[in-house]
Subunit: 230 residues, 2 copies
């Protein structure tokens, strides 16, 4: 490439990375606010999370447009091309993480309408925090191409999975003992599942980062037969 | 492009479309078999669905590799490039549809261990059939670039959503009346949610097809505030 073309390409890649970082920051905030809204039964905050998700979707669309432009105008070579395609995949995952946060927020009014304290809610904030940190670290690992940080994210996925299994059992027991709460607890089951899926998607990003940085996949990452990936 | 290059490009696009069609066929079969396994409490068939999902994932990886090759070797122009990128997005969606079918299959043993007849199971096969047909038609619409068929798919999404809401209410009522079935009904809730998500993803494919064929998005498709997209 001519020097000015390289400069333009680098600028575009910087813009791409900036958009991904912004999108990630918004997804993290969405998770945190959704969990806060759930805890405080704050339907106003929940509505904000739902509204903010449109911005995350808009950034994804912007990234897609930019990727097509970069490929069409710069015709990047093998490695650069793979990076650009990887960016496309990562924003797809972050968009889904944003959706999960939005889904949690959407369930808040369905749970908040009831004045009773739902004891099992108390389990969810810590689970949400671990998942949110995984998203944060996975995107930092992407920005810094840091394979070690990616591995740390991947290893934390079992924490979220264990949380989920514990929440599932607790909720089922609570429903048996408090049949009047069954409808709300069903919504909480989906909230827990959404958090578990956020952890899975952070793990997916981390796996992509690890592969891009090392050229290898991690062993023992076939979760296909043990886990429910809804 | 030189004539032999155009021929090679067309061959590659044909291979791409062939892979997507194969992937779609496998995803449809997975949905059908997962629902059959659930109805018949057939854990062997369920295990087959889980195992087969690896093939769907492998085809997705093959498509990704092919897309990178096509872009790198053929440097397709704007419209062709957008088509190739769209193919990448569509296989991502089909892969997720396969995952949902796998997740349904994975829950079969958790439900089948119990000898009791779970009445709400009877609601799910028709729901699964509508969702499966939506996937089938969405991929046909993609293959034929058929905007009308895409619209028909999109319109059917409310049928699946109505099914889901009905199943949710029926299951909650059943749990209240039969507290001993709560754990299995919780799994059925997730099965219903997975089917509902399959319908959503078929709709996503149809929306992409409609946009590619007409250059427009459909009005009234902002489901953002009414639906839970877990």
């Amino acid at each position: 490439m001519a020097e000015h073309t390289i400069k333009a390409f680098d600028d575009e890649i910087d813009r791409l990375r900036g958009l991904i970082a912004e999108m990630g920051g918004r997804a993290e905030a969405a998770i945190e606010n959704a969990m806060l809204a759930l805890q405080r039964q704050d339907t106003g905050l929940a509505a904000e999370v739902v509204a903010e998700d449109k911005r995350i979707d808009a950034i994804e669309a912007e990234v897609e447009k930019l990727v097509v432009e970069i490929i069409a105008l710069r015709a990047p070579m093998a490695n650069d091309l793979r990076d650009v395609i990887a960016a496309l995949k990562i924003v797809g995952v972050v968009e889904r993480i944003g959706d999960y946060a939005k889904n949690i927020a959407k369930r808040v009014p369905l749970i908040a309408t009831n004045q009773r304290t739902l004891e099992p809610i108390s389990l969810l904030p810590s689970m949400g925090q671990v998942a949110g940190e995984m998203v944060h670290d996975a995107l930092n690992a992407f920005a810094a191409r840091d394979a070690d940080l990616a591995v740390a994210v991947i290893e934390r996925d079992t924490v979220v999975d264990d949380f989920y299994n514990s929440v599932f059992r607790t909720l089922v027991t609570f429903m048996v003992e408090n049949p009047k709460t069954i409808s709300e607890c069903a919504h909480l089951l989906f909230v827990a599942k959404n958090i578990e899926r956020i952890g899975d998607h952070a793990t997916n990003v981390a796996e992509m980062v690890y592969y891009a940085a090392t050229g290898h996949t991690l062993p023992d990452r076939d979760r296909g037969t043990t886990q429910l990936e809804d």
